[in-house]
């Protein structure tokens, strides 16, 4: 019952969504991906706020859960974007817990557009073992990690530094992106590796002359693949978990983007499914004074 209440609370976000949908203009053309980063940075001075709930269906008798992150993304300048995440979760028959924060920075390495565009990503996270956002899968993360009660997992502190090499390319309307992930727990555990890759495309490449919300140009479809690659002394696919996730994004002209992605576990170590939702609103740059002609 409490789990249903948590779901209902999550659905209570819809008035917020309606408010944002009614709000006046803001720019947005968001990537549909949930895990895979591209080389597209936040516009300088723009602030994006997003809520990304994850509904988890684990294996092995572990309880279903609803985790969520509040994400604040800011374009520091044209080649540098910063983000802060606040995570929490509610597992069936357990109480809601705040599971920590993440602070990340992305730096675009080349100042012009190339066939493949590299971006360096650096993150510091201070989370507990109860965190269930699954923002990345690294090392030997499997469904077994969810079998313990959240209250026990909460005692496990994870202060980690994470680096990603993001490679991204735009070809004939398609975006192709691949991320290589290295994560180091500062408590001395070995470096863990993971990957995320995605391909996506808007349903229409050209914009229509008139304003519209339910037109093809506002929808993007894609697919993501992500999983672990073992750790420092054992880089391998064996014993790791992997997910395949179709993604769809709907960017409204007023700056609201809605995203949905049902991730399916594709091997024996994966959770059964992780259904991700996303609601994002991009605040326009700070209003500026018009220069007199």
């Amino acid at each position: 019952m409490p789990f249903r209440r948590a779901c209902a609370r999550s659905l209570a976000l819809f008035p917020f969504l309606v408010f944002m949908a009614a709000a006046p203009h803001a720019p947005a053309q968001e990537s549909p991906y949930f895990l895979t980063y591209t080389h597209h940075m936040e516009e300088p001075g723009s602030l994006e706020v997003a809520v990304n709930p994850v509904l988890g269906f684990p294996k092995g008798g572990a309880s279903r859960f609803l985790a969520s992150s509040l994400e604040v993304e800011y374009g520091v300048n044209g080649w540098w974007t910063s983000e802060l995440y606040l995570d929490g979760q509610k597992t069936n028959r357990e109480r809601s817990v705040f599971t920590g924060y993440r602070f990340e920075n992305r730096f675009r390495l080349l100042m012009k557009e190339h066939a493949v565009n590299p971006v360096l990503y650096i993150e510091y996270e201070d989370i507990t073992g109860a965190d269930k956002i699954f923002k990345e899968i690294v090392g030997f993360d499997t469904f077994h990690g969810l079998l313990e009660p959240a209250e026990d997992l909460r005692r496990e502190k994870k202060r980690e530094v994470e680096a990603k090499l993001i490679l991204s390319s735009n070809v004939r309307g398609w975006n192709l992106a691949g991320n290589l992930i290295a994560e180091k727990n500062l408590n001395g555990e070995p470096i863990e590796f993971g990957y995320a890759a995605g391909i996506s495309r808007p349903l229409a490449l050209a914009a229509s002359p008139s304003p519209c919300s339910l037109c093809r140009e506002n929808f993007s479809l894609g697919i993501e693949l992500y999983g672990g690659l073992g750790e420092q002394h054992q880089v391998t696919l064996s014993g790791t978990s992997h997910y395949l996730a179709p993604v769809v994004a709907w960017s409204l002209p007023n700056g609201v983007t809605l995203r949905l992605s049902p991730s399916i576990g594709i091997n024996a170590n994966s959770n059964r499914a992780l259904v991700r939702f996303g609601i994002a609103y991009e605040f326009p740059v700070i209003p500026s004074r018009t220069i007199a002609q």
Partner: protein, 126 residues
Amino acid sequence: MKSTQWMMITLAALLMSSGCAVEPKKAPMTQEQFTNDVSAGGKLFSQHCASCHGAGAQGTTRAPSLHRETVQGMSDDALVQFLTDGDLRKGMPSWSRLPVERRWQLARFIKSFSASTDPGTKSVGR
């Protein structure tokens, strides 16, 4: 160990290919398509550019006027390439996130300012 070597080789190949610049594409079009593109470009301008360059593209404290000769005198190809690359060090974002078709629509809209006699009174978008 072999898998690590393969990862390094793949990574090196991807990094080396990052040196190849992308050329914007351009397709021939009818007058009606051109008019539609200018209208669509106006819509895109309102969504993505007006908050910095001003609703009439007349310039603000954040970004310069697009009615200037330096912009209007650019070739269409050069303008699309500029929209693609941006000027990241000076705060102009890269609009490569928009498909190249939309960047062309934006460029056609921006170049349509050349016909305007009074940039301060031109209104754009919806």
